[in-house]
Symmetry: C2
Subunit: 279 residues, 2 copies
Amino acid sequence: MVVSEYDDVIRLEPTDQPATRRGAFTQDWMIGNAVNGGVVMAAALNALREHLAADPDEVTEHLDPVVVSAYFMTASAPGAFTASTELMRAGRRLTTGQVSVHQEVDGGQVERMRAIASFGNLDGTDTYRQSAAPDLPPPDECVSAQQAPPDFLRHNHFLDRVDIRLDPATAGWAVGKPSMRGLIQGWLRLRDQREPDTTMLALALDAFPPVAFDLGLYGWTPTLEFTGHIRRRPAPGWLRVMLTTQNVGGGLLEEDAQIWDSTGALVAQSRQLCGVRPA
Amino acid sequence: MVVSEYDDVIRLEPTDQPATRRGAFTQDWMIGNAVNGGVVMAAALNALREHLAADPDEVTEHLDPVVVSAYFMTASAPGAFTASTELMRAGRRLTTGQVSVHQEVDGGQVERMRAIASFGNLDGTDTYRQSAAPDLPPPDECVSAQQAPPDFLRHNHFLDRVDIRLDPATAGWAVGKPSMRGLIQGWLRLRDQREPDTTMLALALDAFPPVAFDLGLYGWTPTLEFTGHIRRRPAPGWLRVMLTTQNVGGGLLEEDAQIWDSTGALVAQSRQLCGVRPA
């Protein structure tokens, strides 16, 4: 059986503590000097999902992440990590828990990220009203991250795993011509064509270039807090992603993401608070 | 010294545990069958703020809540509560911690809400770009909650504490004529004229009637998760509040709130995931 690169990086092994699982991040998922935060969240959600599924008192139908709030404290590095989980409340519609990701640094444990998340069952979810999906040129007519300079790609192996195609109308920042609208949109899928599921959407929500780039803010924009809502199970195929921002000031901005699946259904949205550092 | 009703409900007493503080919710802050969630958050943030301020290793300039993510597990009731706090990380720009609110039920401790929050220093924050504040008729020309039927007000003492004036253009739902746009906007201040501060904004973000009402969805819309960003210290005076929603389905909707202060500056925004229950 071929395991996708994505399934491999979120895979967990048991430890002698029932609520602690072990995994490993690799260079393959780095973006700049850190492991991509979406990968950290997907691995953490996978750990919490396994905890909930293993709990004998648990309503095991609650296996889709529905909402997750993650606080990023330090940048994750390639290498081993632990994910420690806690069941907070098993409700009729949602089950809520907490997960904390640690890595060993100089012999001590450093917390990378802590999240609270609720899981539910998104099977057969109806849509009453939703944001309209953007019109995009087909993926082949969009700007691929693979067109970035080789030196850039060498430090961003994440872009070898995740196929991102940007709408040329919102990619001018890549050649020094940001639109100044605060808008980046395009297509996304895993390069090995592993199809999206509800946990993978957490990664997809945090995979695009920072929307700050479209405002000409090219510095580092670390995610301080991220909250994602997963609203439907995605259909197979390309995902459409749209990032926007409205409020920039005090060294902070919010980045909103929306994702539609190949049928045009809104499947996820997120808001993150980012720092804005000088370029 | 006259203590405002708001300061009174978020007031905490020490316990014999340094990271646990005690307070009391009262009937005065109930909305329907529960203590208003914004009040629970403001009290919890106050507890975390006191913890951070008391920590000898802490950077004490980080006393404005900047981002808070709260998960509501059970409805808070009038009566005693405890707030247990933990410092997660003291950084240069932000300090992050966790807080959990419990109440005693039938001799056991039940968790009402758990939140992670980061605090910073919002003194003198600049604004580079922001959402435009809505044009509203003056408060005296808006619809006051005090115009609601007496039987309704008897079960919603919160509305005696918080002065909400709705733009008549977005208040048709109150007379069975929702605009179906998913928009409610208006003015807010504390009725005793205690001026807003950054912690009070958490309450203000969760004080308006559910935006679902403007879609003709009059059932209970419990807050499952709430994330608020506090971006500036508010100037004294009335706050302008705008609620919107775009995505409704699967028994869930998101409610987005934005708040501008009396100078027109965007001071806070939030998104919450709500359940949609039949009326």
